[in-house]
């Protein structure tokens, strides 16, 4: 019973922290660029504003347009219930493993892309096309990174991977582990639409990938989609931190330990957020046709990670 309550609590925690994470990254970027920037809790105000606004739907759109925000949000929240944010293993650990998580996120991307095509605008089509290209080319890297992690831990179930690394701390500096982290870091930048793959704060439609798909959404639909995007960033950060540096993830469900786990998660995510902010300030956005080269680099890193996991078993 506590396990299921914890699952719901975990999802709510992720939902609560996600907009703050996006706001924090924007704030740090602003400070690094010499601006004052909006406060880190600005996205919460944005969400409240959007939920209070009316939705305008294109007359050319179909029921898919209405379904997409709910579908994407539900798939992303389902993923937060499957990943070890603060505790492992949880009752839903047997419901979905790392492969299921990847495919659930592909489900969200699939429907997001259909939503972009639904209104018939050229920008929606462009965003959908680019997003599906990047998602398709990032897939082999994710699969190989999963392979590397699974070989090391003896399971694709996330709880067991975390438990395996906790039980064997020396595995953290395993070359396979580190290479896998580097590969997944690059994939995270691509999948969540961060620089150098996509500029999340661009106003120029021709440079947009994710923003172009959601250009036609407004009101509560846009709120759900933006929240799901922030949640996806939170999920990737949590996976990167908890799979590769699992200290802080608890195995006993006492309130004190859970409090420590929440603080540990916030700390780890903040460090990653700082790293991403610095990267976003320092790197220029890549031309779209250079992105496959970047993803190719991450594929090679993942392949090396798997090879070294094999050789060093």
């Amino acid at each position: 019973m506590t396990g299921y309550l914890l699952e719901i609590g975990q999802a709510l925690l992720a939902l609560l922290l996600a907009p703050g994470l996006t706001g924090f990254i924007r704030w740090i970027k602003a400070r690094l660029q010499g601006r004052r920037g909006a406060p880190p809790w600005q996205p919460y105000y944005d969400l409240r504003k959007l939920f209070g606004k009316e939705v305008i739907v294109s007359k050319h759109a179909s029921w898919i347009f209405h379904f997409v925000p709910y579908g994407v949000f539900a798939a992303t929240v389902a993923v937060t219930m499957l990943i070890p944010l603060i505790a492992a293993p949880l009752p839903f650990d047997a419901v979905g493993d790392l492969l299921a998580v990847v495919y659930l996120m592909l489900l969200a991307t699939f429907f997001q892309a259909l939503g972009g095509l639904d209104t018939g605008t050229a920008f929606g089509g462009m965003g959908a096309s680019r997003e599906m290209t990047i998602a398709a080319i990032a897939e082999p890297t994710i699969a190989l990174a999963i392979f590397g992690l699974a070989v090391g831990a003896g399971s694709t179930n996330l709880g067991r991977i975390v438990a395996g690394t906790l039980a064997n701390p020396g595995a953290v500096i395993n070359p396979g582990h580190l290479l896998g982290f580097a590969a997944l870091f690059i994939v995270m930048l691509a999948e969540t639409g961060r620089m150098p793959v996509d500029n999340p704060s661009t106003h120029l439609e021709l440079t947009m990938i994710h923003e172009a798909m959601i250009l036609e959404y407004s009101g509560r639909y846009l709120a759900l989609i933006e929240w799901a995007a922030a949640l996806k960033l939170m999920i990737f950060f949590s996976l990167l931190s908890n799979l590769f540096l699992p200290w802080g993830v608890v195995t006993t469900l006492t309130p004190g330990a859970l409090g420590v786990a929440v603080i540990a998660l916030i700390l780890k995510v903040t460090v990653l957020a700082l790293a991403v902010s610095v990267l976003e300030t320092r790197l220029a956005k890549l031309r779209l046709f250079r992105v496959p080269e970047l993803l190719g680099v991450s594929f090679v890193l993942a392949l090396l990670s798997v090879t070294s996991s094999y050789l060093l078993r």
Partner: protein
């Protein structure tokens, strides 16, 4: 079970004869559809009974009909394929009743109905065959009836060309299969499969290798493995849509059946290089299939290339199983085979669904070109919904059936680190990478296929005036959509059943067949656990909960319709939409080295000044290189040989008499030796 078998065969024969008797018109269509549907339904029941009860039916039809030398035997593997034939056949028969109405007066409905029943009958007899003679007769019957059906719309040049390629490739395969069976059966084609099993154990290893290579070639031409797949994207688009569904869903699976039967059952597995070859061929087929599918704008040709891709995925599973079997890793081998066979039935169901959907679109818009469609979701809502289910299933998205089988194939590949030899074990991560890339590209391709065809604004007059498909067509699609959802929700029933089927072949040592725990799927040693059923319940639950919570929290619920914003532009026309070519363009650039697109650019300048452009014509084409570099040289060689042989046919009677005498003398000499 015997009664079900008799009813099935009678129904098909009655359907075929009825179609010939009643001819065109609703009566003829109805009788053909009824015969096919009853036969398929009975076949489905027969298969389900056999799989559930585990009993084997042996029957020599010499008792049923005055035919000697034929033998039938329905074991677990046959029953599984009977289930596939039955379920797809029933949906196709139902759909075909409405679809064939558009052929009335133009083409012969007699042959369409009769050949459909004959095809279903040959398929059913083939999976039940117990000796080489029955198998080969049924194989030939299947090939010829499929050929006849492909040529339904025989006045188009494209159709005739497709028919020629199809019949040539299928007969090349048939020759290989005959040779293979002669080797296995030691010259006597009426030896039962039991005799061949015993014989296979005594064959020398070089002969076993020969049998394997012939089997891979013969069954590969039918299944559509790269590079033997060239007939598939030609023949499947031009056939009537319900026939395309049957061909893509069932006929190419006969290649998988044959391969499983010969290599897994009759030969009982082999050295690692067999599995490696199958795995490699599968991975290459999967990747090349999906890459060529991405560039297609003919809806049915796109689906045909995806069939090549999914056959590749099935062979990845089967190949991985064979590799593990050669190293004695029985549980992983079983998992691999289960993954391959599970994907077989899943692909049959969702590919047939997609082809039937494409058929509805073709029926409504009279075109297969995606660039002329659009906005069909509002005019054909049922078709669009069924096509969406099919698209999500083929992309492997949870909670539908494609996800469950791809997960199992991934899990079996992930077990690759258990292989003792590193140079063999390295195949597995590469296969994982290729499978993941295939999966991602398939999702991209189906966003394109569904999005451009059904969403946004209609791009042509035909798309504007499209009408929803008639009831029988919608019913056929609906049945398959339900099957997709059902197979996705119930892998914990399907996987143990498949385990029993493969264990029933008796070639893997007594190993677990469960791979389930409760509602979850579980791979050996607890490597992975996942419950598609619970995901299927959870995600829709969250999707329903979200608006309810929003309502409770007092979110603004108003909405109104307006024009597309498009960054402040006024008005939206069909010319402003993204096209299918534009959608696939980034991937075309990324994989340009593989595609080698040709480019022709003609710019007409204004006569007065080169700075003013009057018109621009751009033409870009991607031709798959197999025909040019692989088949064209073979055909050139055949023509060369034919030209040489032609010189012998001088027309002179005396020369022919000399040839006959020479042949007689040589035969007598060799017979004496």
């Amino acid at each position: 079970m015997l009664t079900l078998l008799t009813v099935m065969i009678t129904a098909y024969v009655a359907g075929a004869l009825g179609a010939l008797l009643f001819g065109g018109g609703a009566a003829g269509r109805g009788v053909a559809a009824l015969g096919a549907a009853v036969g398929s339904g009975t076949g489905l029941a027969l298969g389900l009974t056999a799989v559930a009860s585990g009993e084997v039916l042996v029957q020599a039809p010499a008792r049923l009909l005055p035919l000697t030398g034929l033998m039938l035997r329905i074991d677990g593997l046959s029953a599984f394929f009977l289930i596939i034939i039955g379920s797809i056949g029933a949906a196709v028969a139902l759909y075909g009743f409405g679809y064939a109405a558009s052929y009335e007066g133009r083409y012969s409905l007699r042959s369409l109905g009769a050949m459909l029943n004959t095809l279903l009958l040959s398929l059913s007899v083939q999976v039940a065959a117990d000796n080489a003679l029955t198998f080969l007769i049924a194989w030939e019957g299947m090939s010829l009836s499929a050929y006849w059906l492909v040529l339904t719309e025989h006045d188009a040049a494209e159709t005739v060309r497709a028919g020629v390629w199809y019949i040539a490739m299928t007969h090349a395969g048939f020759a290989a299969l005959t040779a293979m069976f002669l080797l296995l059966a030691d010259g006597d084609l009426t030896t039962s499969f039991d005799g061949m099993r015993a014989n296979g154990a005594t064959l020398s290893s070089s002969l076993r290798n020969m049998v394997f290579v012939l089997a891979l070639f013969g069954f590969g031409t039918k299944a559509g493995i790269v590079p033997l797949h060239v007939w598939l994207p030609m023949a499947h688009p031009v056939a009537p849509s319900h026939v395309s569904a049957l061909m893509s869903g069932v006929v190419i699976k006969m290649g998988i059946y044959g391969l499983s039967r010969v290599v897994l059952d009759l030969l009982g597995g082999g050295p690692t290089w067999w599995g490696g070859l199958v795995l490699g061929a599968g991975a290459v087929s999967a990747l090349l299939g999906v890459l060529y599918a991405l560039m297609e704008h003919d809806l049915k040709k796109l689906l045909a290339y995806h069939s090549v891709e999914n056959i590749g995925i099935i062979l990845i599973g089967v190949g991985a199983g064979m590799v593990f079997q050669s190293y004695g890793l029985a549980s992983l081998a079983m998992l691999g085979y289960i993954g391959g066979l599970y994907h077989t039935i899943n692909h049959a169901v969702f590919k047939a669904l997609l082809f039937l959907g494409a058929g509805s679109v073709l029926h409504a818009t009279r075109t297969r070109n995606m660039e002329k469609m659009g906005g069909l979701i509002k005019r054909m809502p049922a078709t669009a919904f069924c096509f969406l289910i099919g698209s999500a299933a083929i992309s492997g998205l949870p909670p539908l059936n494609g996800f469950a089988s791809e997960w199992i194939v991934f899990q079996s590949l992930l077990g690759g680190f258990n292989i003792p030899k590193p140079e063999a074990a390295v195949m597995m991560p590469i296969a994982v990478g290729m499978l993941a890339l295939t999966s991602g590209l398939a999702a991209a391709c189906f966003v394109k296929a569904f999005g451009i065809t059904f969403l946004a604004l209609p791009r042509s007059r035909e798309a504007e005036n499209a009408r929803e498909a008639p009831l029988s067509m919608r019913a056929g699609m609906g049945l398959l959509a339900l099957a997709c959802i059902g197979l996705g929700l119930a892998p914990f029933i399907v996987v143990p059943a498949l385990g029993r089927v493969i264990a029933g072949l008796g070639r893997l040592p007594d190993v677990q067949t469960q791979f389930t725990s409760g509602l979850s799927l579980a791979s050996p040693n607890g490597f992975g656990r996942m419950s598609p059923t619970l995901i299927a319940v959870g995600v829709p639950l969250l999707a329903i909960l979200t608006p309810l919570v929003m309502l409770a929290l007092g979110v603004n619920w108003k909405w109104r319709t307006g024009e597309s914003w498009g960054c402040g532009r006024l008005g939206q026309t069909a010319r402003m939409e993204y096209t299918a070519t534009a959608f696939a363009e980034p991937l075309r650039r990324v994989f340009a080295e593989l595609y080698r697109p040709t480019k022709e650019l003609t710019i007409d300048f204004h006569p007065e000044s080169k700075y003013f452009v009057q018109s621009i014509e751009y033409r870009s084409e991607i031709t798959p290189w197999f025909e040019k570099y692989l088949y064209a040289p073979c055909l050139w060689l055949v023509r060369l040989l034919a030209a040489v042989v032609r010189r012998l046919q001088s027309g002179s009677l005396n020369a022919y008499l000399v040839y006959v005498t020479l042949a007689l003398v040589i035969l007598l000499l060799t017979a004496r030796m």
